[in-house]
Amino acid sequence: MSVPHPVLRVALLGSPNSGKSALFNQLTGATQKIANYAGVTVERKSGWLKGSQGTIELIDLPGLYSLEQPRTPDEAITAQFLIGQIGNESPPDRVVVVLDVTHIKRQLKLLAYVQQVHPSVLVALNMMDRTQPYSERIDGPVLARITGCEVVETIAIQPGGAVALGERLLTDAASHRTRVRAAAQTAQSNQDPSLGLGAHAEDAKRVYERWIAALNLDQNVPMTRSERVDAWVLHPILGPIILAAVLFFTFQAVFSWAQPFMHLISAAMAWLGDALTAVLPTGPIQSLLVNGILAGAGTVLLFLPQILILFAFIIILEDSGYLPRAAFLLDRLMSGVGLSGRAFIPLLSSFACAIPGILATRTIPDARDRQITILIAPLMTCSARLPVYALLIGAFIPNTQLTSWGINLQGLVLFLLYTAGIAGAFAVAWLLSRFRRASATQALQMELPSYHWPLWRHLVLGLWQRTQIFVNRVGGTILLLMVVVWFLSSFPSPPPDATRPAIEYSLAGRLGEAVLPIFKPVGFGWQIVVALIPGLAAREVVVGVLGTVYALSGSATEITSSLAPMIAQSWSVPTALALLAWYVYAPQCLSTLAVVRRETASWRMTAFLAGYQFVLAYAAAWATFNLASQWWIAR
């Protein structure tokens, strides 16, 4: 891709949640690239704003609260970037400071500081559509008069809400290029690197206090609607109860609401299987398509509705502003087990997939805190586990209503499995934190955004992206694995005098039998063992492999839609519960281990993660199998 030569380089700066990235996306469209600064684990995004007056390179920097004492690598890099102290890179020609008008009192502090270190500052006064406590006093012209900065009002989440800002920047590109660039370079040469940014602290503080007084922001203001809601949602007793209820409802919905859609997919798969069987002559191609691909990849696809319902809830909670509140509520619990408050976002990301969660630990400043978070992130229940949970729960847990007001047993078990993953992660974190040196606690600092109704656009886009990711996985790695598993499960053919099912004489059957002694104490049969091995590439493959293995064990007509009843007949309940317990803790994802190796640069750490998870999973499965067996016999 060709990179345009920019007329101006403009940095977007602001506190987290101020709407910086939304503005960036509006101004640049989808043309953005990711660049890493050498030696540091911080990402910034660059994009291009093009107009007839020229091209502007927009740089979206990580959000930060203060330049005075950068606490994390991303804050330090942002500060150094502003004054041109990163390698040979020149400072930005202009800095756009994005201020959330609903939190202007706190965010003006950042503006006061940036104004001290950069001569060309433009303010984007964002979220002008929100009701805010200072709406009668603050607008663009007032803020411009008090601060002496150019101010443009924006609404980043509305289409066209950043047009004025884009036009202003492009006008600057045409008329002020020489002046702006010269001013920035002069400022850079005047910076004394030995003094650091702290040298401007006193001046910035004086300026900030003057602005606060001029804008009358030091007076008490009436509570906003968000603050009134927060009085309940963040209440020390009611808050955690509300959080537990929200999560509980989510898992109930995952099971209850997905059923009609799953039946539809299941019927479509069964129809396709019948059609292929009718059209294709009996032979290897029919077996590969029907028993291998359709029974394998098709079975995994069945769980798409449940994954989408789970993500719909996550997107709605995120968009409404509730998730940061959940972080706040869990902070006390997390610090109790020795976790940094900043670990919340990486752990939350791990519910989608551990890999982005592990990458998100880059924002944790303390190296030991970061290591612990990386080590426990794979214990959070990623979406790839959901098909396995859903299959086993659907097969073994009765679909009964526990109460007249709608608590479903299957949803309750799913909730408990997620809770078991979180409890396991916190227990491991607590244990690991016992062995580390004492260090200063990093308090959680997070801007709580105002509540607002989730946008349909965000929900639809988010779900579409999740669908694409899931379907790509099913159509990519999982499909290829199914072809290989079909081959291993079909060859060699059984001898003429064979008495057992053909698959037991195949390579997969023999491999399963060979590894079986390790897993026999936890109640697993050879079919499960065969499924666990390719499951290392992608967890949900286990469902597909079981589909293929059981399809090849039975007749071609009873596949795809009937895996759950088939395993319900073949396995004991203790075996199914043991497999669920195994999956809560198992180290079953090679991609995660590869990312851990890359992020920690340590094979020892990676081996420790895989080792402790294996031991934990084995112990949990063994205990579950034996306890359940005892209970089953005694019953």
Partner: protein, 70 residues
């Protein structure tokens, strides 16, 4: 009989391609680059890139790939 032989050939090709693509998907980039470098000169550039799924390091990258990246 001919139909069955064709079916077996198609299935064998599907399995072989699946194994190659899977290995490419699951192999780390650094290993791919080393492997491409090792195969440099031993097989043609086209087969090397097709097999490994990477054009190799700066030393062994074919001129056509280098020109494209510029």
């Amino acid at each position: 009989m001919t139909s069955l032989i064709i079916q077996w050939l198609v299935v064998a090709l599907a399995v072989m391609l699946s194994v190659i693509w899977l290995l490419q998907k699951l192999t780390p980039l650094s290993v791919k680059i080393k492997l491409a470098h090792y195969l440099n000169g031993k097989v043609s550039d086209r087969i090397r890139i097709w097999l490994v799924g990477h054009s190799g390091c700066g030393q062994c990258q074919p001129a056509s790939v280098e020109a494209k990246s510029r």
